[in-house]
Each structure stands twice: as structure tokens, then as C-alpha cells.
């Protein structure tokens, strides 16, 4: 069940849900879809985001301060689904999902019309029960592949992944970074030996040039911290600012890319 991206590179946009509040998040997401984002990663804020840099840490704190929970994020997903058929992926740390229970989570996600999930701190070895519940409801299970992953691990990841594979562009936490595409390109080349799924490259992609650069070797680029920072810096006009940001990314794309399927 590969997700078919329509443009190249397709934009996968991450937002921390509930920052600054869930209504704004909804409007930001609808604006992002309207601007051409193909998938939104609905970030569930967590108290201890070990894989995230400062920008998403701050956003998580703000969202938690507003009482955002996984349950509310799933309600938000259902609300968005009523207005758009574009891709929705839950992006969470494990503990909130574990406390809800894998079965209840998969049921609720399917009911909300979500397409799948990525659990940052759930490596494939620990994922059996999660995979079982998600597959029963035809939900995509997206896993991270890292530059440090051995070929043996990439093979396991490819076997468990569904929808697309998320290639982490570099070692490190989320957040903007100047040079990063060499590691990412090597990783994508290695991954292709084990998987025919489309590949989205993420972590540190913030500029139009990086975005377009990813398109040379991968189907999609994930932009997270740069969008979260745009939200942070534009209080009161978050959806418009995100739309403008996405427009700038797409302006750098070669004109033919929008027609690619």
C-alpha cells in the first residue's frame, strides 16, 4: 500500500498540534493542503521530545500548556477529514499511544479517517503488537530510517514499513541545518535496495533550495521545524504565513514537477 505522491518533491508538512491552539492548527493544515502540501504529519505534543530540537520543544510546551492530548489530536484529524481528502499521518512519541492502548489508538485513528502513523521512539523490533493492530485496519505504518542504520536494519525497516519510508537526512534532532543532503542521498540509495515504497526525506529541511534538492533523489521532502517556526513567528496570521512559506518552497520547484505523477 504505497502512498502515491502527485508532485516531486511532494511536500510532507509537520505541525505540532495545539500550537498555539487546535483551531489555529486546523486552519494552518487546511491552508497547507490548499497550498499544495500532500501529507500533513499531525504532531502529538509530548513532555519529553528527545528527538526534537528547540523549535519543536517550544511548540510542544505551548501545546501541552493548552491541554492538547492524543485524543484531541484524533478529533482534530476527524474534523479535517470532513473537509479534505489529503493525507493525514499521526506523528507521536510512543507513551501517549501506549497509554491509550494500541488497539484503541488504531480504532480511533481509522475512525477519524487518518491514513497512518509514525511513532518516533518505536523501532521495528518493538513494533509487533502495534503493527498487528494497524494492519488490521489498513493503516500505514511509517518508520524512520537513519544514516546510521545498518543494511540489516534497513531491510527490517523496509519489511515493516507501509505507505512510505521516512529517511532521516542526518544524525541529530529536528531543526534547520545548512548542509545535509549528502548523507540523505547515500541513505536513499541504500534504502532503494530493500524497498520499493516512496521515500520522504526529513530532519533539517528548511530552505527552497534544500527542498528542491531532495527532489533529485527522493519522492518527497518533510518540512517540520521551519513550518513550526513560521507559526511561532506569525501570531494571528499563522495560516497565511504557512501558505506563503509553502508557496516559496514550490516556486523553486521546476515547472514540470507539478504535472509529474
Amino acid at each position: 500500500m504505497a502512498i502515491a505522491f502527485q508532485t516531486r518533491p511532494a511536500l510532507v508538512a509537520y505541525v505540532t498540534c495545539g500550537d498555539p491552539d487546535l483551531t489555529t492548527t486546523r486552519n494552518v493544515i487546511l491552508a497547507a493542503f490548499d497550498a499544495g502540501a500532500e501529507i500533513i504529519e499531525l504532531g502529538v505534543p509530548f513532555s519529553d521530545p528527545v528527538a526534537d530540537g528547540r523549535v519543536i520543544q517550544r511548540a510542544s510546551d505551548r501545546a501541552l500548556g493548552r491541554g492538547t492530548t492524543l485524543k484531541k489530536v484524533l478529533e482534530l484529524a476527524a474534523d479535517i477529514r470532513r473537509r479534505s481528502q489529503a493525507g493525514l499521518i499521526i506523528f507521536s512519541y510512543l507513551n501517549p499511544i501506549l497509554q491509550m492502548g494500541f488497539r484503541r489508538f488504531a480504532q480511533a485513528a481509522a475512525q477519524a479517517g487518518v491514513d497512518g502513523a509514525l511513532v518516533t521512539d518505536l523501532p521495528v523490533e518493538e513494533a509487533d503488537d502495534y503493527l498487528h493492530e494497524m494492519r488490521m485496519r489498513r493503516l500505514s505504518t511509517i518508520f524512520l530510517a537513519a544514516p546510521t542504520s545498518t543494511d540489516q536494519r534497513l531491510e527490517k525497516i523496509a519489511q515493516s514499513a507501509n505507505g512510505f519510508v521516512y529517511a532521516v537526512s542526518r544524525t541529530g534532532v529536528t531543526g534547520a541545518q545548512e548542509r545535509l543532503l549528502d548523507d540523505a542521498r547515500q541513505l536513499v540509495i541504500r534504502l532503494r535496495r530493500f524497498s520499493r515504497l516512496p521515500i520522504a526525506v526529513g530532519f533539517g529541511i528548511s530552505t527552497p533550495a534544500q527542498f528542491v534538492g531532495v527532489g533529485e533523489f527522493a519522492e518527497a521532502a518533510v518540512v517540520g521545524s521551519a513550518i513550526v517556526e513560521t507559526i511561532e513567528q506569525n501570531p494571528g496570521r499563522e495560516p497565511e504565513a504557512v501558505r506563503e512559506f509553502i508557496n516559496r518552497l514550490f516556486l523553486a520547484r521546476p515547472p514540470s514537477s507539478a504535472k509529474m505523477v
Partner: protein, 413 residues
């Protein structure tokens, strides 16, 4: 979640090297760290079987750290409490002032074996940070220690000691600015510099192989204590008592007694200032199974799975989760877990200082507090072994602030 845990338990049993203790433990980290954990596990498995590694570790234990540590009969304390005879395992006498050096020496030898030169660590009370800075000086490693800004304030002396030893101490200002947040920041550093850096985790926490490896480096505490008490009393103790933050000193002393069913094992958590969530660090009283920082164990958290803040007068116990092997010892009934409040720990600190001339760390004072509750109810033929995991020099400022002997009109006990 119940079915998840049961199925894993069936599939993997209680074999420690699966990385599981019953259902607890495991390896819940972002993919970027998985290769490093596999490398560490392999290096540790090889080292365990290597006689030369073991010989070097024993040499360092003996000549650098000062092992074996004495097991002291606390005669005046026992007499004043009435009841059982209390023995103290004197980990406070080790180089750097606490049991933490056992683990740091072991991991330093592993770092050398893996050919890495940069070491990072987290610290709460600063004892693990000081021990890490110490072994990094000894082995010539670059050393960065992450410490919550609140803990840096509480343990200013240890911050200075680490810097004296050549380590860089980086303040962590996120979350509650304590141990949990220092671990988050250390994990972020590790994720970034994983190819060149070893994370010298200071307790039986985190992803496999840490809980097993750190335990193994501390098992010497229990091995010595068991032999020492048999020599002194020709019988085993009724109780072994130790404080439990992450749980390294307690697992270290418990392990040698696990098969001695007559020996009760008691872990003492931080009861803090009240039983409300946020006011203590008693994971076994207010927590439930969850995943934090790489491992499945008891975690203090809210209904939605967000990790709770904690409080304890002792920075070393101020942590919302606990080593996964303790979770299993608790569920299986082999060990019992209780708590001592801030006030009880402060009193126990003075009690030991004034009865035996030993100033324990505030962490260890929690164990003393439990011994003081239990010993009077026991027979004179009973023996209680208490692990004095560290010395209290680092806590003098806090004790002074809390006890206010020098305040006008203060009652000197």
C-alpha cells in the same frame, strides 16, 4: 497494553539478555540510536567474556576506587533504635564519594574498547557527573555533562568539582530542569554525535543494554556485602535496604541476595513533600507502566501519557521513572518498595551523623530512614544491611538551608 506486555513476557521469558525483565525494559529509541545500542551491546557481550577486561576492571575497583568497601556494624545506631542489628555498606567511602564510580570505570573501559573519545553523561545530584568527569580524566576522554539548572543550583559544589576535573557542564533549562531533562538533552547530543560519542548513562535506566550493563558493574556491592555479613555474623541478613532513584545502587546490592529467599529486599523511593502527583518521586505508589527515555517501566504520568514532574529534596532520586528490573522485582514480589519523605530523610541524615559520625548523602538517608522505622520492630537476632550509597558532603548547603541550625532561635537537636 496488558496484552502487549503479557505476550512479550511469554515470548521472551525472564532472560535478562533479551533486554527484558518480565515485560519491562526493551529498546524504545529513535532509529538513529539503534545502531549505537547494537554496537554497545556487542562490545559489552565481548567484554564480559574477556578475562583481561575483567582483570582490568577489578584492578581499577581495588586500586582506583577503593574496593572492597567496609561493612560496618552500626553499634550506637542499632542500640539507640533498639531491635535489629544494623550494618552499613560503606559505598560512601569510595573515590568520588558514591557507588557511581563502579559503573563509570566499567563503561570507560568499554569506551576505550570501542575506540571512542568523547563521553557525555547526565547527572542529577552531580555524583554521577563527578564520577564520569573523573574517569574521563583518568582515560583522557573529552567529557560533557548535562545537568538541570535547578540541580546545578542545588549542587553547586559538584558542578565546580566537575569543571576542576576538566569536564564541560552544560545547564539544561527545559522541563523541570532536573535529571529527566538532563537525560533528554544528553540523548539529543548522542543522537547528533553518535558516531564519535559514548553516552555514559549513570543508572539502570534507558534502552537495552544499559539496565543490564550498569547493574553488572554494580553487582560487586552485593557480592562483597553478602560475603562480609556471612563472615561477620555467620548468617544472612533479614533485610537489605537501599534507596531507589533510577535504582543502580539498590540493584547492585540486591542482586547477590536474589536467590536467598529469606532475605527481604526493600527499595526506598523519594516520598517528597506530599503524595500529590508532582510532589514526590514514588513511582511504585503513583506510577503505572509506560515508556520514558528508552525503557518500559513504572512511570509517573498523567492520564494522557504525559510525564509528570517530580520533587525530592535529593536530586539523585528526583526522577519520574525507575529501572525496569525494579519494576519486575516489584511485580514478581521479590522486592518491596516503600518511600520516605523529605523530612524523614533529613532526620535520618542527622541521626546517622550524630549516632555514627557518618554523614550520608540525602539519597542514602532515605534508606536509613526506612531502617530506622523497621529495626525497632525486629528481634535483636535480626540483621539489617543498609547501603550507604554516597556521602553527604555535597548536601551540606541543602542541609544548612533546610535545618537552619544557625538561624536565630533555632533548636539544635
Amino acid at each position: 497494553m496488558g496484552t502487549t506486555m503479557v505476550s512479550k513476557q511469554k515470548a521472551r521469558g525472564n532472560e535478562p539478555f533479551s533486554g527484558r525483565f518480565g515485560p519491562y525494559g526493551g529498546r524504545y529509541v529513535p532509529e538513529t540510536l539503534m545502531a549505537a545500542l547494537e554496537e554497545l551491546e556487542l562490545a559489552y557481550d565481548e567484554a564480559r567474556a574477556d578475562r583481561n577486561f575483567q582483570r582490568r576492571l577489578e584492578y581499577l575497583y581495588r586500586h582506583y576506587a577503593g574496593r572492597p568497601t567496609p561493612l560496618l556494624f552500626a553499634e550506637r545506631l542499632s542500640k539507640s533504635l533498639g531491635g535489629a542489628k544494623i550494618y552499613l555498606k560503606r559505598e560512601d567511602l569510595l573515590h568520588t564519594g558514591a557507588h557511581k564510580i563502579n559503573n563509570c570505570l566499567g563503561q570507560a573501559l568499554l569506551v576505550e574498547r570501542m575506540g571512542k573519545h568523547r563521553v557525555i553523561a547526565e547527572t542529577g545530584a552531580g555524583q554521577h557527573g563527578v564520577a564520569t568527569a573523573t574517569v574521563c580524566a583518568l582515560f583522557g576522554f573529552e567529557c560533557v555533562v548535562y545537568m538541570g539548572s535547578e540541580d546545578m543550583r542545588r549542587q553547586a559544589l559538584n558542578v565546580f568539582r566537575m569543571r576542576l576535573l576538566g569536564a564541560e557542564v552544560r545547564p539544561v533549562t527545559s522541563g523541570s530542569c532536573t535529571l529527566k531533562d538532563a537525560i533528554n538533552e544528553a540523548m539529543r547530543d548522542w543522537v547528533t554525535n553518535v558516531r564519535t560519542t559514548h553516552y555514559l548513562l549513570g543508572s539502570v535506566l534507558g534502552a537495552h543494554p544499559y539496565p543490564v550493563m550498569v547493574r553488572d558493574f554494580h553487582r560487586v556491592i552485593g557480592r562483597e556485602a553478602r560475603a562480609q555479613i556471612l563472615k561477620a555474623e555467620r548468617k544472612l541478613p533479614s533485610l537489605v535496604i537501599a534507596c531507589v532513584g533510577g535504582g543502580s545502587n539498590s540493584i547492585g546490592i540486591f542482586h547477590a541476595f536474589l536467590k536467598d529467599k529469606s532475605v527481604g529486599l526493600i527499595g526506598v523511593e523519594a516520598g517528597g513533600r506530599s503524595q500529590s502527583l508532582g510532589d514526590h518521586a514514588a513511582r511504585f505508589q503513583g506510577g503505572r507502566p509506560g515508556v520514558l527515555q528508552g525503557t518500559l517501566s513504572y512511570v509517573l504520568q498523567d492520564d494522557a501519557g504525559q510525564i509528570a514532574t517530580t520533587h525530592s529534596v535529593s536530586a539523585g532520586l528526583d526522577y519520574p521513572s525507575v529501572g525496569p528490573e525494579h519494576a519486575w522485582l516489584k511485580d514478581s514480589g521479590r522486592a518491596e518498595y516503600v518511600s520516605a519523605s523529605d523530612e524523614e530523610a533529613l532526620s535520618a541524615c542527622q541521626l546517622l551523623a550524630q549516632q555514627e559520625g557518618i554523614l550520608p548523602a540525602l539519597e542514602s538517608a532515605h534508606a536509613i530512614a526506612e531502617a530506622a522505622k523497621r529495626a525497632p520492630r525486629m528481634r535483636p537476632s535480626d540483621i539489617v544491611v543498609v547501603n550507604v550509597s554516597g556521602r553527604g558532603d555535597k548536601d551540606v548547603d541543602i542541609l544548612r538551608e533546610k535545618l537552619q541550625f544557625d538561624a536565630p532561635g533555632a533548636l539544635v537537636p
